[in-house]
Protein backbone atom coordinates (compact mmCIF):
# COMPACT_ATOMS: atom_id res chain seq x y z
CA UNK A 1 0.00 0.00 0.00
CA UNK A 2 2.79 2.36 0.91
CA UNK A 3 4.48 1.63 -2.39
CA UNK A 4 1.34 2.53 -4.31
CA UNK A 5 1.05 5.87 -2.63
CA UNK A 6 4.63 6.66 -3.51
CA UNK A 7 3.60 7.02 -7.15
CA UNK A 8 2.46 10.51 -7.92
CA UNK A 9 -1.10 10.59 -9.19
CA UNK A 10 -0.25 13.52 -11.45
CA UNK A 11 3.17 14.70 -12.51
CA UNK A 12 3.14 17.49 -15.06
CA UNK A 13 6.16 19.42 -16.30
CA UNK A 14 6.07 22.76 -18.07
CA UNK A 15 2.80 22.32 -19.90
CA UNK A 16 2.18 24.78 -22.67
CA UNK A 17 -0.93 25.26 -24.80
CA UNK A 18 -1.38 28.02 -27.31
CA UNK A 19 -4.59 28.96 -29.11
CA UNK A 20 -3.64 31.12 -32.03
CA UNK A 21 -1.93 34.16 -30.57
CA UNK A 22 -2.87 33.39 -27.00
CA UNK A 23 -0.75 31.31 -24.63
CA UNK A 24 -3.54 29.86 -22.51
CA UNK A 25 -1.19 27.70 -20.47
CA UNK A 26 2.37 28.91 -20.22
CA UNK A 27 4.62 26.47 -18.42
CA UNK A 28 2.45 24.88 -15.73
CA UNK A 29 4.01 22.20 -13.55
CA UNK A 30 2.16 20.12 -10.97
CA UNK A 31 2.88 17.27 -8.61
CA UNK A 32 -0.11 15.63 -6.93
CA UNK A 33 0.43 12.75 -4.49
CA UNK A 34 -1.97 9.81 -4.54
CA UNK A 35 -4.84 10.07 -2.11
CA UNK A 36 -4.81 13.87 -1.84
CA UNK A 37 -7.06 16.66 -3.00
CA UNK A 38 -5.46 19.40 -5.03
CA UNK A 39 -7.28 22.58 -5.93
CA UNK A 40 -6.27 24.68 -8.92
CA UNK A 41 -7.38 28.18 -8.06
CA UNK A 42 -7.65 31.08 -10.43
CA UNK A 43 -9.99 33.60 -12.02
CA UNK A 44 -11.86 33.03 -15.28
CA UNK A 45 -9.51 32.76 -18.20
CA UNK A 46 -6.52 31.83 -16.07
CA UNK A 47 -6.04 28.55 -17.89
CA UNK A 48 -7.57 26.15 -15.36
CA UNK A 49 -9.88 24.31 -17.74
CA UNK A 50 -7.21 24.13 -20.44
CA UNK A 51 -4.77 22.63 -17.94
CA UNK A 52 -7.26 20.05 -16.76
CA UNK A 53 -8.14 19.18 -20.34
CA UNK A 54 -4.51 18.45 -21.05
CA UNK A 55 -4.26 16.24 -17.99
CA UNK A 56 -7.48 14.40 -18.89
CA UNK A 57 -6.31 13.53 -22.43
CA UNK A 58 -8.74 15.92 -24.10
CA UNK A 59 -6.09 18.29 -25.42
CA UNK A 60 -2.59 17.66 -26.66
CA UNK A 61 -0.03 19.85 -24.93
CA UNK A 62 2.04 21.96 -27.31
CA UNK A 63 5.00 21.43 -24.98
CA UNK A 64 5.72 19.68 -21.72
CA UNK A 65 4.71 16.24 -20.50
CA UNK A 66 2.25 14.68 -18.11
CA UNK A 67 2.34 11.37 -16.28
CA UNK A 68 -0.77 9.98 -14.59
CA UNK A 69 0.25 7.28 -12.11
CA UNK A 70 3.44 6.93 -14.06
CA UNK A 71 1.74 6.48 -17.44
CA UNK A 72 2.59 9.04 -20.09
CA UNK A 73 -0.59 10.79 -21.18
CA UNK A 74 0.47 11.16 -24.78
CA UNK A 75 1.95 7.71 -25.32
CA UNK A 76 -0.29 5.58 -23.11
CA UNK A 77 -3.50 7.51 -23.59
CA UNK A 78 -5.92 4.58 -23.44
CA UNK A 79 -4.44 3.36 -20.17
CA UNK A 80 -4.75 6.80 -18.65
CA UNK A 81 -8.39 7.01 -19.75
CA UNK A 82 -9.13 3.88 -17.77
CA UNK A 83 -7.76 5.54 -14.65
CA UNK A 84 -9.59 8.85 -14.72
CA UNK A 85 -13.06 10.26 -14.27
CA UNK A 86 -13.98 13.72 -15.49
CA UNK A 87 -16.77 16.09 -14.55
CA UNK A 88 -16.86 19.21 -16.66
CA UNK A 89 -18.32 22.62 -16.10
CA UNK A 90 -21.35 21.81 -18.15
CA UNK A 91 -23.23 18.68 -17.24
CA UNK A 92 -22.65 16.41 -20.21
CA UNK A 93 -25.32 13.81 -19.74
CA UNK A 94 -28.37 13.07 -21.85
CA UNK A 95 -31.37 15.22 -21.08
CA UNK A 96 -33.80 12.86 -22.76
CA UNK A 97 -32.84 9.85 -20.71
CA UNK A 98 -33.50 8.99 -17.08
CA UNK A 99 -30.80 8.98 -14.43
CA UNK A 100 -30.71 5.20 -14.37
CA UNK A 101 -30.50 4.96 -18.16
CA UNK A 102 -27.67 7.46 -18.29
CA UNK A 103 -25.64 5.66 -15.66
CA UNK A 104 -26.27 2.23 -17.14
CA UNK A 105 -25.18 3.31 -20.61
CA UNK A 106 -21.97 4.81 -19.29
CA UNK A 107 -21.37 1.67 -17.25
CA UNK A 108 -21.69 -0.39 -20.41
CA UNK A 109 -19.25 1.90 -22.19
CA UNK A 110 -16.72 1.24 -19.47
CA UNK A 111 -17.02 -2.45 -20.19
CA UNK A 112 -19.34 -3.64 -17.46
CA UNK A 113 -21.99 -6.22 -18.33
CA UNK A 114 -25.61 -5.14 -18.52
CA UNK A 115 -26.32 -6.60 -15.11
CA UNK A 116 -23.26 -5.08 -13.48
CA UNK A 117 -23.91 -1.69 -15.02
CA UNK A 118 -27.42 -1.60 -13.67
CA UNK A 119 -26.19 -2.74 -10.27
CA UNK A 120 -23.48 -0.09 -10.07
CA UNK A 121 -25.90 2.50 -11.38
CA UNK A 122 -28.33 1.81 -8.57
CA UNK A 123 -25.53 1.85 -5.99
CA UNK A 124 -24.35 5.25 -7.15
CA UNK A 125 -27.87 6.66 -7.27
CA UNK A 126 -28.35 5.53 -3.71
CA UNK A 127 -25.07 7.03 -2.61
CA UNK A 128 -25.80 10.38 -4.20
CA UNK A 129 -29.33 10.48 -2.84
CA UNK A 130 -30.88 10.23 -6.27
CA UNK A 131 -32.65 6.87 -5.89
CA UNK A 132 -36.08 8.44 -5.83
CA UNK A 133 -35.36 10.24 -9.05
CA UNK A 134 -33.84 7.22 -10.77
CA UNK A 135 -36.62 6.91 -13.31
CA UNK A 136 -37.06 10.60 -13.78
CA UNK A 137 -35.99 12.14 -17.05
CA UNK A 138 -33.07 14.53 -16.66
CA UNK A 139 -34.85 17.54 -18.02
CA UNK A 140 -36.87 17.43 -14.80
CA UNK A 141 -33.80 17.51 -12.58
CA UNK A 142 -32.71 20.56 -10.62
CA UNK A 143 -29.26 22.05 -11.25
CA UNK A 144 -27.83 20.52 -8.10
CA UNK A 145 -29.20 17.07 -8.92
CA UNK A 146 -27.74 17.27 -12.41
CA UNK A 147 -24.31 18.06 -11.02
CA UNK A 148 -24.56 15.17 -8.61
CA UNK A 149 -25.52 12.84 -11.42
CA UNK A 150 -22.70 14.17 -13.56
CA UNK A 151 -20.29 13.37 -10.74
CA UNK A 152 -21.86 9.93 -10.33
CA UNK A 153 -21.27 9.20 -14.02
CA UNK A 154 -17.60 10.08 -13.71
CA UNK A 155 -17.33 7.65 -10.80
CA UNK A 156 -18.92 4.65 -12.42
CA UNK A 157 -15.64 3.04 -13.27
CA UNK A 158 -14.27 3.78 -9.79
CA UNK A 159 -11.27 5.67 -11.15
CA UNK A 160 -8.34 6.37 -8.84
CA UNK A 161 -8.05 9.93 -10.17
CA UNK A 162 -10.97 12.29 -10.58
CA UNK A 163 -10.96 15.66 -12.31
CA UNK A 164 -13.63 18.13 -11.20
CA UNK A 165 -13.84 21.31 -13.22
CA UNK A 166 -15.53 23.95 -11.09
CA UNK A 167 -17.78 21.47 -9.30
CA UNK A 168 -19.87 23.93 -7.31
CA UNK A 169 -20.05 26.97 -9.57
CA UNK A 170 -23.63 28.10 -9.74
CA UNK A 171 -24.91 25.92 -6.91
CA UNK A 172 -26.76 27.14 -3.84
CA UNK A 173 -24.92 27.01 -0.49
CA UNK A 174 -26.62 23.86 0.74
CA UNK A 175 -25.91 21.88 -2.41
CA UNK A 176 -22.37 23.23 -2.29
CA UNK A 177 -21.68 21.78 1.12
CA UNK A 178 -23.27 18.49 0.05
CA UNK A 179 -20.83 18.39 -2.85
CA UNK A 180 -17.95 19.14 -0.54
CA UNK A 181 -18.96 16.26 1.69
CA UNK A 182 -19.15 13.95 -1.30
CA UNK A 183 -15.69 15.01 -2.42
CA UNK A 184 -14.28 14.35 1.04
CA UNK A 185 -15.83 10.87 0.94
CA UNK A 186 -14.17 10.14 -2.37
CA UNK A 187 -10.75 10.67 -0.93
CA UNK A 188 -11.54 8.51 2.08
CA UNK A 189 -11.96 5.65 -0.37
CA UNK A 190 -8.45 6.18 -1.70
CA UNK A 191 -9.16 8.38 -4.72
CA UNK A 192 -7.11 11.36 -5.72
CA UNK A 193 -9.03 14.48 -6.65
CA UNK A 194 -7.97 17.44 -8.75
CA UNK A 195 -10.48 20.24 -8.82
CA UNK A 196 -10.49 23.69 -10.32
CA UNK A 197 -12.26 26.56 -8.65
CA UNK A 198 -12.62 30.32 -8.52
CA UNK A 199 -13.47 30.32 -4.83
CA UNK A 200 -10.81 30.57 -2.17
CA UNK A 201 -13.14 29.20 0.50
CA UNK A 202 -13.76 26.08 -1.57
CA UNK A 203 -10.05 25.52 -2.08
CA UNK A 204 -9.51 26.19 1.59
CA UNK A 205 -12.23 23.77 2.68
CA UNK A 206 -11.33 20.89 0.46
CA UNK A 207 -7.73 20.93 -0.60
CA UNK A 208 -4.58 19.55 0.91
CA UNK A 209 -2.72 21.66 -1.58
CA UNK A 210 -3.63 24.73 -3.61
CA UNK A 211 -2.05 25.70 -6.90
CA UNK A 212 -2.81 29.28 -7.86
CA UNK A 213 -2.87 29.99 -11.57
CA UNK A 214 -2.98 33.36 -13.26
CA UNK A 215 -2.64 34.06 -17.00
CA UNK A 216 -1.50 30.51 -17.65
CA UNK A 217 1.25 30.44 -15.05
CA UNK A 218 1.53 28.98 -11.58
CA UNK A 219 1.94 31.84 -9.13
CA UNK A 220 1.73 29.85 -5.91
CA UNK A 221 1.72 26.25 -4.78
CA UNK A 222 1.07 25.82 -1.09
CA UNK A 223 -1.21 24.42 1.59
CA UNK A 224 -4.30 26.49 2.37
CA UNK A 225 -2.79 27.81 5.60
CA UNK A 226 0.49 28.60 3.95
CA UNK A 227 -1.32 30.53 1.27
CA UNK A 228 -3.37 32.52 3.71
CA UNK A 229 -0.26 33.34 5.71
CA UNK A 230 1.50 34.68 2.69
CA UNK A 231 -1.55 36.64 1.64
CA UNK A 232 -2.18 38.47 4.83
CA UNK A 233 -4.66 38.33 7.68
CA UNK A 234 -8.37 38.76 7.81
CA UNK A 235 -9.52 42.32 8.13
CA UNK A 236 -11.72 43.73 10.84
CA UNK A 237 -14.09 46.40 9.57
CA UNK A 238 -15.67 48.29 12.41
CA UNK A 239 -18.15 51.17 12.14
CA UNK A 240 -18.60 53.36 15.18
CA UNK A 241 -22.03 54.85 15.85
CA UNK A 242 -20.95 58.28 17.01
CA UNK A 243 -18.12 59.91 15.13
CA UNK A 244 -16.66 61.42 18.35
CA UNK A 245 -15.75 57.99 19.61
CA UNK A 246 -13.73 57.08 16.53
CA UNK A 247 -10.33 58.13 17.85
CA UNK A 248 -10.94 56.36 21.15
CA UNK A 249 -12.07 53.21 19.43
CA UNK A 250 -9.03 53.29 17.16
CA UNK A 251 -6.74 53.49 20.17
CA UNK A 252 -8.42 50.52 21.87
CA UNK A 253 -8.23 48.39 18.76
CA UNK A 254 -4.62 49.27 18.14
CA UNK A 255 -3.73 48.34 21.65
CA UNK A 256 -5.64 45.06 21.71
CA UNK A 257 -4.79 43.77 18.25
CA UNK A 258 -1.30 45.23 18.23
CA UNK A 259 -1.85 46.44 14.69
CA UNK A 260 -2.13 49.64 12.75
CA UNK A 261 -5.65 50.89 12.34
CA UNK A 262 -6.75 52.71 9.20
CA UNK A 263 -9.56 55.14 9.06
CA UNK A 264 -11.51 54.23 5.94
CA UNK A 265 -14.40 56.62 6.30
CA UNK A 266 -15.47 59.09 8.97
CA UNK A 267 -16.44 56.38 11.40
CA UNK A 268 -15.15 53.19 9.72
CA UNK A 269 -12.05 51.57 11.09
CA UNK A 270 -10.10 48.80 9.39
CA UNK A 271 -7.47 46.71 11.09
CA UNK A 272 -5.84 43.39 10.25
CA UNK A 273 -6.84 40.71 12.72
CA UNK A 274 -4.84 37.52 12.91
CA UNK A 275 -6.86 35.78 15.58
CA UNK A 276 -10.64 35.91 15.26
CA UNK A 277 -10.97 35.02 18.92
CA UNK A 278 -9.57 38.43 19.82
CA UNK A 279 -12.69 39.94 18.33
CA UNK A 280 -14.74 39.09 21.42
CA UNK A 281 -12.26 40.90 23.65
CA UNK A 282 -12.22 43.94 21.37
CA UNK A 283 -16.00 44.16 21.32
CA UNK A 284 -16.25 43.71 25.09
CA UNK A 285 -13.64 46.39 25.74
CA UNK A 286 -15.40 48.80 23.38
CA UNK A 287 -18.71 48.11 25.10
CA UNK A 288 -17.19 48.68 28.51
CA UNK A 289 -15.78 51.95 27.26
CA UNK A 290 -19.27 52.97 26.29
CA UNK A 291 -18.56 53.07 22.57
CA UNK A 292 -21.59 52.04 20.53
CA UNK A 293 -21.09 50.28 17.22
CA UNK A 294 -23.24 50.29 14.15
CA UNK A 295 -21.40 47.65 12.19
CA UNK A 296 -18.83 44.90 12.57
CA UNK A 297 -17.42 42.86 9.73
CA UNK A 298 -14.71 40.30 9.44
CA UNK A 299 -13.60 40.14 5.85
CA UNK A 300 -11.90 36.94 4.75
CA UNK A 301 -9.13 37.26 2.25
CA UNK A 302 -10.80 36.96 -1.11
CA UNK A 303 -9.30 35.74 -4.36
CA UNK A 304 -8.67 39.36 -5.29
CA UNK A 305 -6.58 39.87 -2.18
CA UNK A 306 -4.71 36.66 -2.92
CA UNK A 307 -3.93 37.95 -6.38
CA UNK A 308 -2.98 41.39 -5.24
CA UNK A 309 -0.61 39.79 -2.80
CA UNK A 310 0.89 37.22 -5.11
CA UNK A 311 1.12 39.03 -8.39
CA UNK A 312 2.09 42.32 -6.86
CA UNK A 313 -0.73 44.13 -8.52
CA UNK A 314 -2.46 46.67 -6.40
CA UNK A 315 -1.41 47.72 -2.93
CA UNK A 316 1.43 45.87 -1.30
CA UNK A 317 0.34 47.61 1.87
CA UNK A 318 -2.35 45.01 2.31
CA UNK A 319 0.25 42.54 3.48
CA UNK A 320 0.84 43.49 7.07
CA UNK A 321 3.17 41.29 9.02
CA UNK A 322 2.33 41.03 12.66
Amino acid sequence: MINNNAILAVEAHSLVKTFGEKRAVDGVSLKIPTGSICAVLGPNGAGKTTTINMLATLLKPDAGDVKIFGYDVQRETQIVRQLIGLTGQFASIDEDLTALENLTIFGRLYGYSRKDSKCKANELLEEFGLSDAASRVLSKFSGGMRRRLDLAVSLISQPPLIFLDEPTTGLDPRTRSQMWQTIHNLVKGGSTVLLTTQYLDEADQLADNIVVIDKGRVVANDTPDGLKRSVGNSSLHLTVKDVINTANAAQIIERMLDAKVHLAEASKLIAPIDNIDKLTDVLTTLKNAGIALSGVNIVQPTLDEVFFALTGEGSKDKKEEN
Binding site: L58, Q78, L83, S92
Partner: protein
Amino acid sequence: MTNTTIIPAAERKLKNRIGVGTAIRNTCTLAFRALLKMSKNPEIFVDFVVLPVMFTLLFTFLFGGAISGNIANYLPIVIPGVLLMSSFTNCTTAGSKLREDVDKGTTSRFKSMPIARIAPLAGSLIADLIRYVMGGTTVFVTGYILGYRPEAGILAVTFSILFMMIIAWGLSWVFAFISMCTKTISTASAIGVVVMFPLVFLSNAFIPAETMPSGLQYFVLHINPLSRVVMVVRQLLTYGTIGANFWLTLYGTLAILVMFIPLTLIAYKRKA
Protein backbone atom coordinates in the same frame (compact mmCIF):
# COMPACT_ATOMS: atom_id res chain seq x y z
CA MET B 1 -18.69 3.35 -2.73
CA THR B 2 -17.58 4.82 0.52
CA ASN B 3 -17.17 1.27 1.75
CA THR B 4 -15.12 0.07 -1.16
CA THR B 5 -11.60 1.23 -1.52
CA ILE B 6 -10.47 2.20 -4.96
CA ILE B 7 -8.13 -0.27 -6.55
CA PRO B 8 -4.89 1.69 -6.87
CA ALA B 9 -3.53 2.25 -10.34
CA ALA B 10 -0.49 0.09 -9.80
CA GLU B 11 -2.64 -2.94 -9.07
CA ARG B 12 -4.63 -2.73 -12.29
CA LYS B 13 -3.85 -4.69 -15.43
CA LEU B 14 -4.34 -2.27 -18.28
CA LYS B 15 -3.91 -2.36 -22.04
CA ASN B 16 -3.10 0.61 -24.19
CA ARG B 17 -5.32 -0.31 -27.10
CA ILE B 18 -9.02 -0.50 -27.85
CA GLY B 19 -9.65 -3.86 -29.51
CA VAL B 20 -12.14 -4.48 -32.29
CA GLY B 21 -14.44 -6.31 -29.90
CA THR B 22 -14.57 -3.28 -27.64
CA ALA B 23 -15.17 -1.01 -30.62
CA ILE B 24 -18.13 -3.10 -31.72
CA ARG B 25 -19.53 -3.27 -28.20
CA ASN B 26 -19.15 0.49 -27.78
CA THR B 27 -20.87 1.10 -31.11
CA CYS B 28 -23.79 -1.12 -30.12
CA THR B 29 -24.18 0.63 -26.77
CA LEU B 30 -24.17 4.03 -28.44
CA ALA B 31 -26.59 2.86 -31.13
CA PHE B 32 -28.84 1.73 -28.31
CA ARG B 33 -28.44 5.15 -26.72
CA ALA B 34 -29.41 6.89 -29.95
CA LEU B 35 -32.48 4.69 -30.35
CA LEU B 36 -33.47 5.18 -26.72
CA LYS B 37 -33.28 8.94 -27.12
CA MET B 38 -35.34 8.63 -30.27
CA SER B 39 -38.02 6.59 -28.58
CA LYS B 40 -38.49 9.32 -25.99
CA ASN B 41 -38.75 11.98 -28.59
CA PRO B 42 -42.12 12.07 -30.34
CA GLU B 43 -40.65 14.18 -33.14
CA ILE B 44 -38.90 11.17 -34.59
CA PHE B 45 -42.07 9.16 -34.48
CA VAL B 46 -43.72 11.87 -36.51
CA ASP B 47 -40.90 12.02 -39.06
CA PHE B 48 -40.72 8.32 -39.72
CA VAL B 49 -44.21 7.06 -39.12
CA VAL B 50 -46.87 9.75 -39.09
CA LEU B 51 -45.60 11.84 -41.99
CA PRO B 52 -45.07 8.92 -44.39
CA VAL B 53 -48.58 7.69 -43.71
CA MET B 54 -49.96 11.18 -44.06
CA PHE B 55 -48.19 11.93 -47.32
CA THR B 56 -49.07 8.56 -48.79
CA LEU B 57 -52.74 9.16 -48.12
CA LEU B 58 -52.55 12.79 -49.17
CA PHE B 59 -50.83 12.32 -52.50
CA THR B 60 -52.75 9.19 -53.36
CA PHE B 61 -56.17 10.69 -52.84
CA LEU B 62 -55.26 14.16 -54.03
CA PHE B 63 -53.38 13.38 -57.20
CA GLY B 64 -54.34 9.78 -57.94
CA GLY B 65 -57.35 10.60 -60.04
CA ALA B 66 -55.74 13.49 -61.89
CA ILE B 67 -52.48 11.76 -62.78
CA SER B 68 -53.43 8.16 -63.31
CA GLY B 69 -57.17 8.14 -63.68
CA ASN B 70 -57.74 6.29 -60.44
CA ILE B 71 -56.03 5.46 -57.16
CA ALA B 72 -55.11 1.87 -57.96
CA ASN B 73 -53.16 2.97 -61.04
CA TYR B 74 -51.43 5.71 -59.14
CA LEU B 75 -50.14 3.52 -56.33
CA PRO B 76 -47.21 2.03 -58.29
CA ILE B 77 -46.08 5.61 -58.94
CA VAL B 78 -46.71 7.20 -55.58
CA ILE B 79 -45.56 4.51 -53.16
CA PRO B 80 -41.96 4.52 -54.37
CA GLY B 81 -42.23 8.31 -54.44
CA VAL B 82 -43.23 8.60 -50.79
CA LEU B 83 -40.53 6.07 -49.93
CA LEU B 84 -38.03 8.38 -51.57
CA MET B 85 -39.41 11.43 -49.87
CA SER B 86 -39.43 10.01 -46.37
CA SER B 87 -35.92 8.62 -46.69
CA PHE B 88 -34.33 11.63 -48.28
CA THR B 89 -35.89 14.45 -46.33
CA ASN B 90 -34.71 12.72 -43.19
CA CYS B 91 -31.13 12.09 -44.24
CA THR B 92 -30.42 15.68 -43.40
CA THR B 93 -31.05 15.24 -39.68
CA ALA B 94 -28.49 12.54 -38.96
CA GLY B 95 -25.69 15.04 -38.78
CA SER B 96 -27.51 17.42 -36.52
CA LYS B 97 -27.79 14.85 -33.73
CA LEU B 98 -24.04 14.40 -33.81
CA ARG B 99 -23.42 18.09 -33.85
CA GLU B 100 -25.70 18.45 -30.87
CA ASP B 101 -23.56 16.00 -28.95
CA VAL B 102 -20.44 17.88 -29.88
CA ASP B 103 -21.88 21.23 -28.89
CA LYS B 104 -23.19 19.99 -25.60
CA GLY B 105 -20.03 18.46 -24.26
CA THR B 106 -21.17 14.86 -24.24
CA THR B 107 -18.46 14.27 -26.78
CA SER B 108 -15.83 15.65 -24.41
CA ARG B 109 -16.85 13.11 -21.88
CA PHE B 110 -16.72 10.33 -24.51
CA LYS B 111 -13.30 11.53 -25.51
CA SER B 112 -11.95 11.11 -21.98
CA MET B 113 -13.26 7.53 -21.79
CA PRO B 114 -11.52 4.40 -23.00
CA ILE B 115 -13.96 3.86 -25.87
CA ALA B 116 -13.36 3.60 -29.60
CA ARG B 117 -13.23 7.09 -31.07
CA ILE B 118 -15.48 6.15 -33.93
CA ALA B 119 -18.14 4.58 -31.70
CA PRO B 120 -20.33 7.66 -31.11
CA LEU B 121 -20.39 8.37 -34.82
CA ALA B 122 -20.96 4.78 -35.85
CA GLY B 123 -23.59 4.21 -33.17
CA SER B 124 -25.55 7.20 -34.30
CA LEU B 125 -25.48 6.11 -37.92
CA ILE B 126 -26.62 2.59 -37.12
CA ALA B 127 -29.58 4.05 -35.30
CA ASP B 128 -30.29 5.96 -38.51
CA LEU B 129 -30.34 2.78 -40.55
CA ILE B 130 -32.96 1.38 -38.26
CA ARG B 131 -35.02 4.53 -38.69
CA TYR B 132 -34.94 4.20 -42.47
CA VAL B 133 -36.19 0.64 -42.25
CA MET B 134 -38.99 1.79 -39.97
CA GLY B 135 -40.01 4.55 -42.35
CA GLY B 136 -39.86 2.30 -45.40
CA THR B 137 -41.95 -0.39 -43.76
CA THR B 138 -44.58 2.16 -42.77
CA VAL B 139 -44.88 3.37 -46.35
CA PHE B 140 -45.37 -0.11 -47.75
CA VAL B 141 -47.83 -1.12 -45.07
CA THR B 142 -49.88 1.98 -45.82
CA GLY B 143 -49.67 1.17 -49.53
CA TYR B 144 -50.79 -2.36 -48.89
CA ILE B 145 -53.78 -1.11 -46.94
CA LEU B 146 -54.69 1.13 -49.87
CA GLY B 147 -54.53 -1.84 -52.21
CA TYR B 148 -50.99 -1.75 -53.55
CA ARG B 149 -49.76 -5.20 -54.56
CA PRO B 150 -46.35 -5.00 -56.25
CA GLU B 151 -46.02 -7.70 -58.89
CA ALA B 152 -42.55 -8.71 -57.83
CA GLY B 153 -43.62 -9.66 -54.34
CA ILE B 154 -42.33 -9.20 -50.85
CA LEU B 155 -38.72 -9.93 -51.71
CA ALA B 156 -38.70 -6.97 -54.04
CA VAL B 157 -40.26 -4.84 -51.31
CA THR B 158 -37.51 -5.79 -48.86
CA PHE B 159 -34.86 -5.15 -51.45
CA SER B 160 -36.36 -1.77 -52.29
CA ILE B 161 -36.35 -0.69 -48.66
CA LEU B 162 -32.75 -1.80 -48.27
CA PHE B 163 -31.69 -0.12 -51.50
CA MET B 164 -33.35 3.16 -50.55
CA MET B 165 -31.79 2.92 -47.12
CA ILE B 166 -28.27 2.52 -48.49
CA ILE B 167 -28.62 5.45 -50.89
CA ALA B 168 -30.12 7.74 -48.27
CA TRP B 169 -27.58 6.65 -45.68
CA GLY B 170 -24.80 7.41 -48.10
CA LEU B 171 -26.14 10.87 -48.76
CA SER B 172 -26.54 11.52 -45.04
CA TRP B 173 -22.76 11.53 -44.70
CA VAL B 174 -22.68 14.62 -46.88
CA PHE B 175 -25.03 16.34 -44.48
CA ALA B 176 -23.16 14.99 -41.46
CA PHE B 177 -20.06 16.68 -42.87
CA ILE B 178 -21.95 19.89 -43.48
CA SER B 179 -23.32 19.93 -39.93
CA MET B 180 -19.80 19.58 -38.54
CA CYS B 181 -18.71 22.60 -40.52
CA THR B 182 -21.50 25.08 -40.10
CA LYS B 183 -21.64 27.60 -37.28
CA THR B 184 -24.84 26.26 -35.78
CA ILE B 185 -27.05 23.22 -36.10
CA SER B 186 -29.91 25.26 -37.53
CA THR B 187 -27.75 26.47 -40.42
CA ALA B 188 -27.04 22.88 -41.34
CA SER B 189 -30.72 21.95 -41.10
CA ALA B 190 -31.63 24.89 -43.29
CA ILE B 191 -29.11 23.86 -45.92
CA GLY B 192 -30.52 20.36 -45.78
CA VAL B 193 -34.05 21.50 -46.39
CA VAL B 194 -33.12 23.94 -49.16
CA VAL B 195 -31.21 21.25 -51.02
CA MET B 196 -33.35 18.18 -50.49
CA PHE B 197 -36.88 19.43 -50.90
CA PRO B 198 -36.46 20.71 -54.47
CA LEU B 199 -34.53 17.58 -55.39
CA VAL B 200 -37.30 15.34 -54.10
CA PHE B 201 -40.12 17.22 -55.75
CA LEU B 202 -38.41 18.15 -58.99
CA SER B 203 -38.13 14.48 -59.83
CA ASN B 204 -40.51 11.89 -61.19
CA ALA B 205 -41.27 10.69 -57.68
CA PHE B 206 -44.90 11.73 -57.85
CA ILE B 207 -45.54 12.77 -61.41
CA PRO B 208 -44.52 11.14 -64.70
CA ALA B 209 -41.90 13.33 -66.34
CA GLU B 210 -43.73 13.26 -69.67
CA THR B 211 -46.33 15.67 -68.31
CA MET B 212 -43.74 18.35 -67.50
CA PRO B 213 -42.49 21.22 -69.70
CA SER B 214 -39.45 20.18 -71.73
CA GLY B 215 -36.84 22.12 -69.72
CA LEU B 216 -38.00 20.62 -66.44
CA GLN B 217 -38.35 17.22 -68.03
CA TYR B 218 -34.72 17.32 -69.03
CA PHE B 219 -33.68 18.18 -65.51
CA VAL B 220 -35.88 15.51 -63.99
CA LEU B 221 -34.82 12.71 -66.26
CA HIS B 222 -31.18 13.49 -66.91
CA ILE B 223 -29.82 15.61 -64.09
CA ASN B 224 -31.65 14.83 -60.88
CA PRO B 225 -30.12 11.68 -59.41
CA LEU B 226 -33.17 11.08 -57.26
CA SER B 227 -35.27 10.33 -60.35
CA ARG B 228 -32.98 7.44 -61.14
CA VAL B 229 -33.32 6.17 -57.59
CA VAL B 230 -37.10 6.15 -57.86
CA MET B 231 -36.95 4.46 -61.23
CA VAL B 232 -34.78 1.69 -59.79
CA VAL B 233 -37.35 1.05 -57.10
CA ARG B 234 -40.22 1.06 -59.59
CA GLN B 235 -38.44 -1.37 -61.83
CA LEU B 236 -37.72 -3.62 -58.85
CA LEU B 237 -41.27 -3.61 -57.61
CA THR B 238 -42.91 -4.08 -61.01
CA TYR B 239 -40.52 -6.43 -62.77
CA GLY B 240 -38.22 -7.66 -60.04
CA THR B 241 -35.19 -6.70 -62.10
CA ILE B 242 -32.38 -4.20 -61.88
CA GLY B 243 -30.86 -2.25 -64.69
CA ALA B 244 -28.25 0.39 -65.48
CA ASN B 245 -29.80 2.89 -63.11
CA PHE B 246 -29.27 0.53 -60.20
CA TRP B 247 -25.55 0.28 -60.78
CA LEU B 248 -25.24 3.96 -61.54
CA THR B 249 -26.85 5.04 -58.29
CA LEU B 250 -24.98 2.45 -56.28
CA TYR B 251 -21.60 3.49 -57.64
CA GLY B 252 -22.54 7.13 -57.13
CA THR B 253 -23.33 6.40 -53.50
CA LEU B 254 -20.08 4.50 -53.10
CA ALA B 255 -18.20 7.49 -54.46
CA ILE B 256 -19.95 9.73 -51.95
CA LEU B 257 -19.08 7.37 -49.10
CA VAL B 258 -15.44 7.16 -50.11
CA MET B 259 -15.20 10.94 -50.21
CA PHE B 260 -17.34 11.99 -47.30
CA ILE B 261 -16.74 9.40 -44.61
CA PRO B 262 -13.09 10.43 -44.14
CA LEU B 263 -14.03 14.11 -44.43
CA THR B 264 -16.71 13.78 -41.78
CA LEU B 265 -14.39 11.86 -39.47
CA ILE B 266 -11.76 14.54 -39.75
CA ALA B 267 -14.27 17.30 -39.13
CA TYR B 268 -15.76 15.38 -36.20
CA LYS B 269 -12.39 14.78 -34.57
CA ARG B 270 -11.47 18.38 -35.02
CA LYS B 271 -14.71 19.67 -33.58
CA ALA B 272 -14.99 17.18 -30.75
